[in-house]
Amino acid sequence: MKILLIDDSKTMRNIQKSVLKQLGYTEIEEACDGQDALSKIGAFNPDLCLVDWNMPVMDGLTFVTTFRQTNKTTPLIMVTTEAEKARVIEAIKAGVNNYVVKPFTPDLLSERITETLAKCSVGS
């Protein structure tokens, strides 16, 4: 299982990485914004991406919209401080499969990852 973490905060990537490692996922790549993610995604070919919304250079929503033009199936989870209902709907319309609002507990993030992988039938 290969997972791409896209967040401009190294702190947040480390926290997510630690949750993923507890779930047994160790093949993890990191990107610091949407553009960095697009440049890495072809070679890494992830089975799941966790995407922040507010990032410099290219934000998460632009990344999701761009990525979904060529890939409709790889599960995407938005992990963001954007908590308004309208923002969640906007992200889902753009193509995210699940949504986690920061701050989150490790249990909540684990739950959403497991739930998303099951829903999208990605084997581990």
Binding site: D8, S9, T81, K102
Partner: protein, 162 residues
């Protein structure tokens, strides 16, 4: 500034600190800030734009910031390191985003965070925008949330007329 604008920040700092690292926050009496001098040595700053404009600052003494960042990240960082600034930025980002969700107004955007570290720095806010200090007491020390926001009335009227 309307008290309804302060409550979301009180809830947000308590929620972020308790969810991310189980640190209870006791809120003191909010008061108006009357100068530009940073309250403490470490400032995490977020800009607000849209139908409301202004800045949100998480201001912490260096020692308290160090303890809080260690709780948050599980690691000890030098204050000069990029990791320390990144963690401070992420804290103020989460607090601001969390508070924004409670606003009764749509169309508010927050910037990516900036972090300033150093004694006696100053933070300028838009002239005419009141800044409210929210004192917060934690087991790691006293920190302050500074909220300087106002409704962008001129822009709202212009866009409503367009």
């Amino acid at each position: 500034m309307d008290a309804n604008m302060i409550t979301p920040f009180v809830n947000a700092i308590q929620n972020v600190f308790s969810t991310m690292f189980q640190l209870p926050v006791e809120i003191g009496e909010p008061r108006l800030k009357t100068n530009r001098k940073a309250t403490h040595d470490v400032s995490g700053i977020i800009g607000v734009s849209g139908v409301m404009t202004g800045t949100i600052v998480l201001s912490m003494p260096l020692e308290a910031a160090g303890s809080i960042i260690t709780l948050f990240t599980g690691e000890e960082f030098e204050a000069e390191s990029d990791d320390f600034a990144d963690a401070v930025g992420e804290l103020v980002n989460m607090i601001s985003g969390n508070a924004k969700a409670e606003f009764q107004r749509k169309g508010v955007s927050i910037s990516c965070p900036s972090v300033v570290i150093g004694a006696d720095h100053t933070i300028a806010v838009q002239s005419g925008t009141p800044c409210v200090l929210i004192p917060c007491s934690t087991d790691c020390g006293e920190v302050v949330l500074e909220v300087a926001l106002r409704e962008a009335e001129a822009e709202v009227s212009t866009s409503a007329a367009a």
